[in-house]
Structure formats: structure tokens, C-alpha cells
């Protein structure tokens, strides 16, 4: 029996529940158009790192106008805090960075300032301002200005920052030792010898056989009586 026939058969038996489960033909999600906000976020985070590094150099070496370097250091750290949590993609996909829960809470608190990309780009433009005044931080500021342009482009295309939740991630780490949540297919013999829950499953198997009208040749039909209100703990 091909996979397609299997699924159609299950559908006719009324056993298919809802989209998203493996028994259904999965909804094919389009790999959509370019989301400028995603690139802007990566670039802004990188710019924040560069700005911070430049600020550290300018402040520690006490170059002339080192005060602007110190301001850029603070600005760079703030940029990193705002940009570290990744938002959801427009198609709902979510790829969080490691440990982004805490910075995400801070970003969410800022509300529309970070959610709306026009506000975010204005904030980043403001934070990049002190960096233009010293050599150590100018590269960080120029780079941040480019990410401001990307965010403006994202805003024009109607994108906005949406916080994701841990459950949304499709790439949660599954260790080699993680047990499957649902037991694998077991033969009727294994079900008969198994736990109460498995015997309940056997009852459902028998009902399926009876309702579909199919009989396994040469085998005794399993009685339809094995039901119990008890749920095995």
C-alpha cells in the first residue's frame, strides 16, 4: 500500500484528526520572499559588537574625545541587548538564539519602540550618533547606519518584530537519548502482553478491524470487549 493510499484509508476511517499531524498530507509552506528584518537583525547585532569593541578600545586607551567612545560603548551594549532576541519570521518560523529569553523580556517591555521597525531604526540611528566622532568607533556606527536602512526597508514592506515562544521553535534540541512521546507500532501479540494502556489500544485495533470490515485471513477476530475506564498511571 503506498503512503498516499494509507493516508486516504485512515481518513475514510475517521481517524485523521487535524493538519500538522503526520497522518495528514502536510501543508506545504512557501519559502517566502526575503525578509529584510532578519538580515537587519543579524547586521545590527554584528554592528553592536563592533561598536562595543571600538568603545572599549577608545575608552581604555584614553584617546582624545574618549568620552564619545565611552558613550558608544554603552550604546553598543544596548544595541546588542535589543538585537540579540530574534523575532519570528513572517511564515511563523522561529529560530531563537541561545539564551535569548531574558533579553527578549527586555525587548518586549520596550513595546512599540522595538516592535515597530521605524521606531527601532530611529533608536538605532540615535545610538550610532556618538560613534561618528571618534576613529575607534566609526566603523561600528557606519555599520549600524546600514542596518538602520535595512530596518527602514523592512518597515516599508510591512514587517514587524514578533516575539517567539520556545514552543514555536522547530529546531529544539533533541538529544540522542530523548525517548519518543508515542510508543512505536506494536504487533497485536505485543499489545496483548503489554500494559493496560496497550490492551486498550488493542481494543481500538479490534474496533478498527470490525468497522472497516476487513479480516485478517486465518486469524481469530479479536473480541470487542476490552475497554476500561481506568487510565494507567
Amino acid at each position: 500500500m503506498s503512503t498516499i493510499e494509507l493516508y486516504i484509508r485512515l481518513e475514510s476511517l475517521g481517524q485523521v484528526t487535524c493538519p500538522g499531524q503526520v497522518t495528514c498530507l502536510p501543508a506545504v509552506k512557501k519559502m517566502g520572499r526575503t525578509e529584510w528584518a532578519m538580515w537587519a537583525n543579524e547586521h545590527a547585532l554584528l554592528s553592536g559588537v563592533v561598536l562595543t569593541l571600538g568603545g572599549v578600545v577608545g575608552t581604555a586607551a584614553q584617546f582624545p574625545n574618549w568620552q564619545f567612545a565611552a558613550a558608544s560603548l554603552g550604546a553598543g551594549l544596548l544595541v546588542m541587548l535589543i538585537e540579540y532576541p530574534r523575532g519570528k519570521k513572517m511564515n511563523g518560523g522561529f529560530h531563537p538564539r541561545r539564551g535569548q529569553g531574558c533579553p527578549q523580556a527586555c525587548t518586549v517591555i520596550l513595546g512599540p519602540i522595538t516592535r515597530n521597525y521605524i521606531c527601532r531604526s530611529l533608536l538605532l540611528a540615535l545610538l550610532s550618533a556618538p560613534g561618528y566622532l571618534t576613529l575607534a568607533t566609526i566603523l561600528g556606527s557606519i555599520s549600524l547606519a546600514i542596518s538602520v536602512l535595512f530596518y527602514l526597508l523592512a518597515a516599508i514592506r510591512g514587517e514587524s518584530w514578533q516575539p517567539g515562544h520556545t514552543g514555536d521553535s522547530k529546531h529544539e534540541k533533541i538529544s540522542q537519548d530523548t525517548e519518543p512521546k508515542i510508543p512505536p507500532p506494536r504487533t497485536p501479540e505485543e499489545l496483548r502482553q503489554g500494559s493496560l494502556l496497550q490492551r486498550l489500544q488493542l481494543g481500538r485495533v479490534s474496533k478498527l478491524i470490525a468497522s472497516s470490515g476487513s479480516r485478517r485471513p486465518g486469524k481469530r477476530q479479536v473480541p470487542l470487549t476490552e475497554t476500561s475506564p481506568l487510565v494507567e498511571s
Binding site: 503512503t3 577608545g58 507500532p185
Partner: protein, 532 residues
């Protein structure tokens, strides 16, 4: 004047020269294919398999060296500017800064020049800023999320590397770093004259020292790889102009499109890949696809899953728009396609093909026993391997490979029905010629739900597998690699077994560890990984 900062800048610069020389080489695909062809031994060819990882490591090294170089030059420029300050008026630094004419030392020619101004008015400063900004853009667009989700953005932005290399080539053009000329050193010994800076030029023992800019060297390092890469792209352009005929378009379930193509002079090995471009769709986009046909076939084929803009456009220009409409049932789509009048050959789009390019799967037939492990879509290269194995076995060609194992792990077999059909066909064909033991496959479905489990339980006594229709039953969950490798060691004691993997990084890490863990007492598992 600059103290140690000059050394801190020049040392990374020297390292950068070498790294930039190496950086372009791993991405010259044709060069690598040639090297793969002429390499005398498998060990050397194996080193070419990780070319992309090598390129990424070199890129990170370039980034780190650039950071050190820039920080050092910030110090240099600030110190050059500091040499003009009032504090340095009557000092050696002041004297050195005030040397006029062509033999000057301090590139900041007067006290009004600031480091910021110097960085935007000198060739070195401008090219440095341009190159660094390009590097930042390259870095941010090369992150995994952007590369995987928005490949065209990554690919187009990566062309900024041309500007990067040109900027770097001209970075030393201004000869901003200056050293004392040999003639001046004969007349003006720094050890003797450094204390007598007030009298320089007024006596013969210490005339004014003369300095000259050091010639740029970077262009000597990066010229050759730039030319090689330019030739590489030229070859790609030339190949793109050659005629490729689409001989057949096949519609498979789950939105999979098979294109069968022919091109004059095209010959591919097993598991190799090509880049396809549909100029009528998007002239700048090239997409890699593994070849699913065997080298013995008189065509070459690719299986394309229709999931995004480009692949939907491809389906449309091949006359398959309705079949792959979102929401359309795939089985009924294929049925509709069978009834619909097909496009004529001249109506099919012009396809540009670049390649074929070698891949680790080339080496499958170099071993007596090969183990192919595929995760999900990674099974595609092994289609070619299996077909070629069948061709060689059925024709009785001399074949070193006597046994091939396939481990296929996937959530479900959606989008891979075509491969399942291939397995069923191969299984029966090998049985027909009396060689069923050549291929042993193990399929692991890692996702199922209760209904499916029940349905499979009902059919467990059937001869063929419920899911795939093969004689070998499908297993559920992940394989126990310890058990599988122990079994392999038992059966192939003392042999060198090739292990080929095409799948996610986690699976790769696990299998690689098992290969090294179980390689002992003459039995050796040689790990090869496909890079997608």
C-alpha cells in the same frame, strides 16, 4: 612614534595576505573537481570534501585578523596625530613629524589633521573602510539563518567580495607606512642621531633623515586567486550558454518534479551535483541539485521539490503550474497532469547547467563495503549510487563494491515516494538476477502517530512493508548505532568500510564518533560527509 602598534598591525596584515590567498581556492568548484580527478589517492581526495568548512574557517580567521589590524591602526593613527601635539613640540616625535618634502615620516602632514580626517582622505583609510564594511555585510549575510532561509540574499551579497578584494588590493597603494631609505641610513644613524634631533641638518653627522613609503605587497598574494576565480566564473558563464535539452518532465507525488536533461559532452560520476539556472525565470539565480540519475543513463536527472518561489516558477514554465498549486492534492494533481496535453520540447524553458561537480559520494565504489546514511532529503545523492550499483551489477561489470548498506532516517516518507519506488524496483530487480544480498537497507521513520501505529499493527503480518511496499520492514525511531556498527564489525572484520553520510549536523557528529570508536583491530570505518 608608533611603538608596538605598528608591529601589531603589520603582523595580521601579513597573515591576512596568506589567508586571502587561500580564501578563494575552496570555492573554485572546477579547480576542486580537477584536483579530485588527478589526486592519486583517496586520502588526498578526502581532504577536498570539506571545502566549504575550510572556506568558512578562513573567513572567520580573516575577520579576527582584520579586527586586530584595525585596532592596531586606530592606535597608529591616534599616535601619528599625537606626535603633532604641543607636548611633542621639542621632542624627537615632533622633530620627526616636521620633516618636510618627499622624505617625510608622519603621513599626517600638519597639526590640523585628525585621525578621523586621515581615515577618510587617504587611500589606505578609504579602502580600509570600504573593505571592512563589505566584510561586515558578507559576515552578516552568511549567518546560518540567512543562508538557509534566504539563500539568494546570501548569494547576491557574497558578490561584495569582489569589491572587498579590489579594495584590499589598493589598500597599500598610498604607501602610508614609511621607512628610512638605505641611503639615509648610511648618513643618519638613528642610534647616534636620535638624541641630537635639535641639530638635524645643521651638521654633517646627522643630516635630515629621509623616509619613503613601503611598496604594497598584498596584490602579489591575491592576484592569482582572483584570476582563478574569474576564470571559474567565466567557465560557468560559458557553460550556461551551452544547449541543454529537457527530454522529459515527470510529476511525482508530494510536489516533486523530475527533470531529465541532456547536454552534449556531459558526463557525471555518482552522487555528483549540478547548478541549474532558468534565465527566463531569474537570470542570476543558480540552484544546486544532486543528480539522481546514474552515470550509465543516457540522460541526467534532478528531482526538485516545489517549495519556494523559484521552484514554483520552474514548475510553471515546465507546464506544471496547476499540479503544484498550493492545496492541490498531489495524487490528483499527478492524475490531472497525465490527462493534460503535454508541452512540446520547444516550449520547455532553456536551462543553464553548470557542473557536474564532484562530491564525497564519488568514492562509494572504491570500497568493498560501503555504508550510506541519509537523513531526510539527504537520501537524494544515494539514488544515483543505488542506480549505478544496479547498472554495474546487472551488466556484470568488474566491481570492487560487493555490499552496500543504506540507512535512511526521515520523519516520514513524504516527498520521497519516488525514492521508495526506486527501492522497491531495485529490490525486485536484484532478486531477479540472484543478487539480493548486494543491497541491504534499513529505513527508520522517526515520526508517527497513534493512528498510524495502530494501522501498521493491523498489517504487521503482511509480507511487504505497509509504508513503502518493500520486503524489508520499516523500523520506527532512531537506530541504535552501537548495535548497527557492532553488526558491521562482525560481518566485515578487518575491512576498510566507507561510511557516507548526507544529513543534519547532529547525525553527522554521532556517526563520526561511532566511526572512530569502532575503528580498531584492522577494521576501519572511513567517514565521508556530503555538504549541502
Amino acid at each position: 612614534m608608533l611603538k608596538s602598534a605598528l608591529a601589531w598591525a603589520r603582523a595580521p596584515a601579513a597573515c591576512l595576505n596568506f589567508n586571502l590567498f587561500l580564501l578563494l581556492l575552496p570555492v573554485c568548484r572546477n579547480l576542486l573537481s580537477v584536483c579530485r580527478g588527478i589526486c592519486p589517492c583517496q586520502f588526498l581526495r578526502h581532504q577536498l570534501d570539506d571545502n566549504i568548512i575550510c572556506h568558512q574557517l578562513l573567513a572567520w580567521t580573516v575577520t579576527l585578523l582584520t579586527a586586530v589590524h584595525i585596532i592596531a591602526h586606530v592606535f597608529n593613527l591616534e599616535r601619528y596625530a599625537g606626535a603633532w601635539s604641543a607636548d611633542e613640540n621639542n621632542t624627537l616625535l615632533g622633530a620627526l613629524s616636521r620633516i618636510d618634502g618627499n622624505g617625510y615620516l608622519n603621513p599626517m602632514r600638519n597639526e590640523n589633521m585628525t585621525p578621523l580626517l586621515a581615515s577618510v582622505t587617504t587611500v589606505a583609510g578609504i579602502t580600509g573602510i570600504v573593505a571592512t564594511i563589505c566584510l561586515f555585510l558578507l559576515l552578516s549575510s552568511s549567518m546560518t539563518l540567512i543562508r538557509r532561509s534566504f539563500f539568494e540574499l546570501f548569494w547576491l551579497t557574497h558578490h561584495l567580495s569582489a569589491i572587498f578584494y579590489i579594495a584590499i588590493a589598493f589598500h597599500g597603494y598610498g604607501r602610508i607606512v614609511r621607512g628610512q631609505t638605505p641611503e639615509s641610513l648610511k648618513n643618519h644613524d638613528p642610534d647616534i642621531c636620535s638624541d641630537k634631533f635639535n641639530n638635524w641638518g645643521s651638521n654633517t653627522t646627522c643630516p635630515l633623515p629621509q623616509f619613503v613609503g613601503l611598496p604594497p605587497k598584498t596584490w602579489k598574494w591575491i592576484l592569482a586567486p582572483m584570476v582563478l576565480y574569474a576564470l571559474e566564473r567565466g567557465l560557468r558563464f560559458y557553460r550556461a550558454q551551452q544547449t541543454v535539452a529537457i527530454t522529459r518532465v515527470v510529476c511525482h507525488p508530494s510536489r516533486v518534479l523530475e527533470l531529465r536533461l541532456r547536454k552534449r559532452g556531459f558526463h557525471a560520476g555518482v552522487g555528483q551535483y549540478v547548478f541549474l539556472c532558468i534565465p527566463s525565470l531569474r537570470s542570476l539565480e543558480w540552484h544546486p541539485f544532486t543528480l539522481t540519475s546514474a552515470p550509465e543513463d543516457d540522460y541526467f536527472s534532478v528531482h526538485v521539490r516545489v517549495v519556494g518561489d523559484w521552484t514554483e516558477g520552474l514548475a510553471k514554465v515546465c507546464g506544471m503550474a496547476e499540479e503544484f498549486e498550493e492545496g492541490a492534492g498531489n495524487a490528483e494533481g499527478c492524475e490531472r497532469h497525465k490527462r493534460k496535453p503535454k508541452l512540446d520540447t520547444w516550449q520547455l524553458p532553456f536551462v543553464a547547467v553548470d557542473g557536474p561537480f564532484g562530491s564525497p559520494a564519488d568514492a562509494v565504489f572504491e570500497y568493498n563495503t560501503s555504508v550510506c546514511i541519509a537523513g531526510g532529503i539527504g537520501v537524494t545523492p544515494f539514488a544515483s549510487v543505488l542506480k549505478s550499483t544496479w547498472n554495474r551489477v546487472s551488466r556484470g561489470s568488474p566491481l570492487k563494491l560487493s555490499k552496500i548498506y543504506l540507512f535512511w532516517l526521515c520523519r516520514d516518507t513524504h516527498a520521497f515516494e519516488w525514492f521508495s519506488e526506486l527501492l522497491v524496483a531495485l529490490e525486485s530487480q536484484l532478486t531477479d538476477i540472484g543478487r539480493p544480498e548486494t543491497l541491504e537497507y534499513n529505513i527508520f521513520l522517526t515520526a508517527w502517530d497513534e493512528n498510524q501505529a495502530l494501522h501498521i499493527a493491523m498489517r504487521h503480518e503482511q509480507e511487504t512493508d505497509v509504508i513503502l511496499g518493500t520486503k524489508q520492514k520499516t523500523s520506527f525511531g532512531r537506530p541504535s548505532w552501537d548495535r548497527e556498527f557492532s553488526r558491521l564489525v562482525e560481518k566485515h572484520q578487518g575491512e576498510e568500510v566507507g561510511v557516507f553520510l548526507c544529513g543534519p549536523p547532529k547525525l553527522s557528529d554521532v556517526v563520526k564518533k561511532k566511526c572512530s570508536g569502532f575503528s580498531k583491530n584492522q577494521t576501519k570505518f572511513v567517514f565521508h560527509k556530503e555538504n549541502f
